[in-house]
């Protein structure tokens, strides 16, 4: 159980969550300033920011 836990938690899940969080961060350009969008590109601005933040938290 412990070896399985380390394999899962420290290796596999960490890498995959890193990929997910980094991909979303790259898509959002590091995070959106919701008040300063020149045109409405990211419609769900605050939700996307929250998603990115929790993704880095889970990582």
């Amino acid at each position: 159980m412990i070896i399985s836990h380390f394999t899962y938690s420290l290796f596999l899940s960490w890498i995959v969550w890193l990929a997910a969080a980094a991909a979303l961060t790259q898509t959002l350009g590091g995070g959106i300033n919701c008040g300063a969008q020149t045109y409405l590109r990211f419609v769900y601005c605050s939700q996307l920011n929250a998603l990115e933040g929790f993704a880095w938290l889970i990582l």
């Binding site: 159980m1 070896i3 399985s4 997910a20 998603l51």
Partner: protein
């Protein structure tokens, strides 16, 4: 290693869960409701400790119990024995053994539950947000780029992944936290599945 650890493990709890019919408190009835299922998952010493706290907070006091909960070291079996507070005139229910090594003690039950609880909570929030955004993108076709759609969907998948495997490891550590390999993991689900056919209202039979 014979040093006395106070960490609680599962000794022989499953076949001797008779305590529920001796409860007359709110926590007892709560336990009675939950006992048919959840006692397979939760360490009974931990469970009864929480139950004792609930009864103290609510001010209930069972007529048959004197709150003589104690964990004593049995020299003959070289293990810790949990003397439940429910039936003190009965032989002890729960054998609490010590950890096999100090290295395995690094992962204690409480810390593990807290850490995985935080992980599961964050994953649940992540799941809700990504589900909502994915549904909106699918319905309104207003994703800024296709990569945003794909990556939010990927986060949706990852949160489900983490919730599923995090729950498995949370329960698995509570049941078999010291077993080195996860060879017992499929056994848990099978046992939980088949336990319902064997139990009467008060006990489980191995």
């Amino acid at each position: 290693m014979t040093s006395k650890q106070t960490t609680i493990l599962m000794g022989q709890p499953f076949s001797q869960l008779h305590c529920s019919k001796y409860f007359s408190t709110a926590g007892g009835s709560l336990y009675y409701i939950l006992s048919s299922r959840l006692c397979c998952y939760v360490s009974p010493a931990f469970f009864f400790g929480c139950l004792d706290s609930v009864n103290r907070i609510l001010g209930f006091r069972s007529q048959r119990t004197k709150y003589r909960t104690s964990i004593k070291f049995d020299e003959q079996t070289n293990a810790y024995v949990y003397h439940g507070f429910c039936c003190s005139n009965r032989p002890p229910r729960y054998v609490v053994s010590n950890f096999p090594s100090a290295a395995l003690q690094l992962i204690s039950n409480f810390r593990h539950v807290v850490a995985f609880g935080a992980l599961l909570l964050s994953s649940l929030i992540e799941l809700s947000i990504s589900t909502w955004i994915t549904a909106k993108y699918n319905a309104n076709h207003n994703a800024p780029t296709s990569s945003a759609h794909v990556r939010v969907s990927y986060l949706f998948f990852m949160s489900i992944w983490t919730i599923v495997f995090g729950s498995v490891y949370l329960v698995g550590f509570l049941i078999a936290g010291t077993s080195i390999f996860a060879s017992m993991a499929p056994h848990f689900f099978l046992r939980v599945l088949f336990y319902s056919t064997y139990h009467d209202n008060f006990s489980f039979h191995l």
